[in-house]
């Protein structure tokens, strides 16, 4: 009679721990964008060269006159969000957003809504509601924004881990703190002659002003970082 050696059970790892570890690895591999608690939304496109990611729960203030490339910049942020499977919305105060430009920027229209003709007295309500359910909210600022409203929206964005992107003729029109301020300066349009030629995609110049990462650095003040880069579109 022969005896069969019995495998010690202790050696095999606990199944659920093992499975959890494997799932965690799989999650990192399979998740195209970091989740809300990982606190950053990765940008793509030409904006990413200067601004690789946007902190969730923060405010990005984009400023620039009509024609300076500000619309292209905000649409790139929306495109990054929808490409990652998230939702974006834009409060279009003037009702002039070009839908084709959104398509060309790479925005997935199935997850992108535009809110038009918002009365100024409801602007803050609408933006606050959007921050509740949408991860990137682009809001064209009305002529005046009350500081109280702005503070409430900043708090709401932080609480919901949503990104609020404001757009106005001047990035400083956003009256309270913003993690990033983007100033669009436009650029030369080439390709047209005297009655002939085709407009070529241009390169717009932008300044990015980011609050320093070393917020607890010297003398407790945030260091401002200012960089200039070029955005195709």
């Amino acid at each position: 009679m022969t005896s069969v050696p019995v495998q010690p059970v202790r050696d095999s790892p606990r199944r659920d721990n093992d499975a959890r570890a494997r799932l965690a690895a799989l999650r990192v591999e399979r998740t195209p964008v970091v989740l809300a608690r990982d606190r950053a939304l990765a940008l793509t496109g030409s904006l990413a060269t200067m601004l690789p990611s946007v902190q969730r729960g923060s405010v990005v203030a984009v400023g620039g006159e009509v024609g300076s490339g500000a619309t292209t910049a905000v649409l790139e942020i929306a495109a990054a969000a929808t490409a990652a499977g998230e939702w974006a919305a834009m409060v279009d105060g003037t009702g002039t957003l070009g839908g084709l430009a959104a398509v060309d920027a790479g925005v997935d229209l199935a997850r992108f809504a535009v809110i038009r003709d918002v009365p100024p007295d409801r602007w803050a309500t609408v933006v606050a509601a959007l921050l509740d359910g949408v991860s990137v909210v682009i809001a064209e600022l009305p002529r005046t924004v009350r500081v109280g409203d702005a503070r409430r929206l900043v708090a709401r964005a932080r609480e919901r881990s949503a990104v609020l992107v404001t757009i106005a003729p001047d990035a400083r029109a956003w009256p309270v703190e913003a993690a990033v301020r983007v100033h669009a300066h436009g650029g030369l349009w080439l390709g047209l002659g005297a009655g002939d030629g085709v407009l070529e995609p241009r390169v717009a110049v932008m300044d990015v002003e980011a609050r320093g990462r070393s917020r607890h650095g010297q003398s407790g003040h945030g260091q401002s970082r200012r960089d200039r880069f070029e955005l195709a579109g």
């Binding site: 024609g67 839908g99 229209l109 997850r111 003709d117 436009g186 030369l188 349009w189 407009l199």
Partner: protein
């Protein structure tokens, strides 16, 4: 074994209802349209060539003088209510499918009235007394087969339902995608589909395919073991003071429907048939079952309850008093298979949240204020996008002569001659804002009918441009556009320019009837 079922079908019910409610004339061709497509047409209109699915214009072309009406489900139910009440004289287990179609299990009534033949005769009598004579009655095993039998007015003998179903086309299954796919696979009839082994059907077509396969084989869509839900799923509400207006009761019903389906969903169940019960202040007790292909959604259930209440409250010989109690009882529940949350908990939950916010804003601002862009064919940036209210079908405008083409992989837009070239403008001013386009001598630039310029443009001014405009440094055009020349109301002749102002601002300028305007700004 499927439950032997009798189905009563009143052909062209929307038309009959429209005639009875005096929305349409008693004689003459009538068509009922739903979302721009003909849903139902009277017999004389069909003789003239009007078909289900025609556009309004096609119907009017095929049959001049036709009366075209929008669909009105509330009226359809209200006019059908006397028929349903007449049938209730024979059996209490009447199930409404949609207005014009009802069904009930025949086991008891058929025995009482001496067989299927006797039952149909008796049924014709009572429905005829209610004022409806054009009807067809079919009996078969299972609700699906009974509905098809009603189309042929056939009494299918017990056990012969699969034989009866075999020659019908697969399109009758009601699943457009599946039907289309089966036809392309060469399975044109229900019989051919039914011959496939069930296991293979499940593997290839999923759960919906298996349900369709059961129907094609003459079985009930859902296993009968699940048809008796526990009584604690009922949802009811007392109305105090008694309500006699439809909207007041419907509002309560909406809440009940949401709660009912929510509670079922928590147990992983969905509902395919629901009984609506109401009590009035004088003790009248009303009850009617509604059935739905596939699972009921809160919207569909709320709609059906509303129709039924409308039928009860406004039908002739209606109620003697207001409704004091409303109750929804799920009659048939099935395991819910529809929604699966994303594995990382992300997608579906986020979509639900976003949809809820958009719906809320539509309530706050109006549906037209929350929109989404749908690309379509066209020349100018404004023409190439249609803004559709959120939640409505993302279809191109019916006026777009060439819309997107459903390709094998995605929706593509065919090439469009005369499209403005270059990058898409970030800002589209629609309608265009007035501008001044001037030559070097401050005179307005004119274009002749043949597209020749009076002088090259040198300056553009408009309130939408920063600093009010400026000197034109380069430009392309003019491109002449003869827009919708066939339509007297909307035709226009215009020319378009791309101009660059001061080197750094590009915009699109239109000139129409000698007036310049800014149509888009590249931003």
């Amino acid at each position: 074994m499927a439950v032997r079922t009798l189905c009563v079908w009143c052909p062209d019910w929307p038309v009959v209802a429209a005639r009875q409610s005096e929305a349409a004339p008693e004689v003459g061709p009538v068509a009922i349209i739903e979302r721009g497509r003909v849903r139902s047409a009277s017999a004389d209109a069909r003789v003239d060539g009007v078909r289900i699915g025609h556009r309004r214009r096609e119907a009017e072309a095929a049959c001049p003088g036709i009366v075209v009406l929008d669909v009105d489900p509330a009226t359809e139910v209200r006019v059908f209510e006397p028929v349903a009440r007449a049938v209730e004289l024979i059996t209490p287990r009447v199930v409404m499918d949609r207005p014009g179609v009802l069904a009930f299990p025949t086991r008891g009534p058929s025995r009482y009235h001496g067989g299927d033949g006797g039952l149909t005769e008796r049924l014709r009598e009572v429905i005829g007394a209610a004022g409806v004579t054009d009807l067809r009655i079919g009996i078969a095993d299972g609700a699906f087969a009974a509905r098809l039998a009603a189309r042929r007015a056939a009494l299918v003998p017990v056990g012969e339902t699969p034989v009866f179903l075999a020659p019908w086309p697969v399109g009758t299954l009601g699943d457009e995608h599946l039907g289309d796919l089966l036809v392309r696979l060469g399975l044109r009839t229900l019989g051919a589909f039914a011959e496939l082994p069930a296991g293979s059907v499940l593997a290839r077509f999923g759960r919906d395919g298996l349900t369709a396969h059961r129907l094609a084989r003459g079985e009930d869509a859902h296993p009968p073991a699940l048809t008796t839900p526990p009584p604690d799923f009922e949802e009811s509400a007392e109305l105090d003071p008694p309500a006699d207006r439809v909207d007041a009761v419907a509002f309560v019903a909406k809440g009940l429907a949401d709660r009912l389906l929510d509670r079922l969903a928590q147990r992983g169940l969905a509902c395919t048939q629901v009984v609506v019960e109401a009590e009035t202040e004088h003790g009248e007790h009303l009850s009617r079952a509604w059935r739905h292909e596939g699972a009921l959604t809160p919207g569909a259930l709320g709609e059906r309850v509303r129709w039924q209440l409308d039928g009860w409250l406004t039908a002739t010989g209606g109620l003697s008093g207001g409704i004091t109690k409303l109750c929804l009882i799920p009659d048939q529940v099935i395991p819910a298979s529809g929604r699966q949350l994303g594995f990382w908990g992300g997608d579906a939950a986020a979509a639900e949240r976003a949809e809820r916010v958009f719906a809320r804003l539509q309530g706050l601002l109006g549906p037209d204020h929350v929109v989404t862009a749908v690309p379509q064919g066209g020349r100018t940036p404004a023409e190439r996008i249609r803004w559709v209210p959120w939640g409505e079908p993302r279809e191109p405008s019916p006026h777009a002569p060439i819309g997107p083409v459903a390709g094998p992989v995605s929706v593509e837009i065919p090439p469009w001659p005369g499209t403005i070239p270059g990058p898409a403008p970030g800002r589209v001013v629609d309608p265009p804002v007035a501008a001044m386009l001037m030559d070097g001598h401050d005179r307005a630039v004119m274009v002749t009918a043949r597209g020749d310029l009076s002088a090259p443009p040198a300056m553009v001014r408009s309130s939408v441009l920063p600093n009010g405009g400026g000197a034109i440094t380069s430009w392309a055009g003019p491109w002449a556009q003869d827009v919708r020349w066939w339509d007297r109301a909307s035709r226009s002749r215009r020319v378009a320019w791309q101009v660059v102002v001061d080197g750094s601002l590009a915009c699109l300028v239109n000139v129409e009837h000698g007036h310049a305007s800014i149509a888009a700004i590249y931003d």
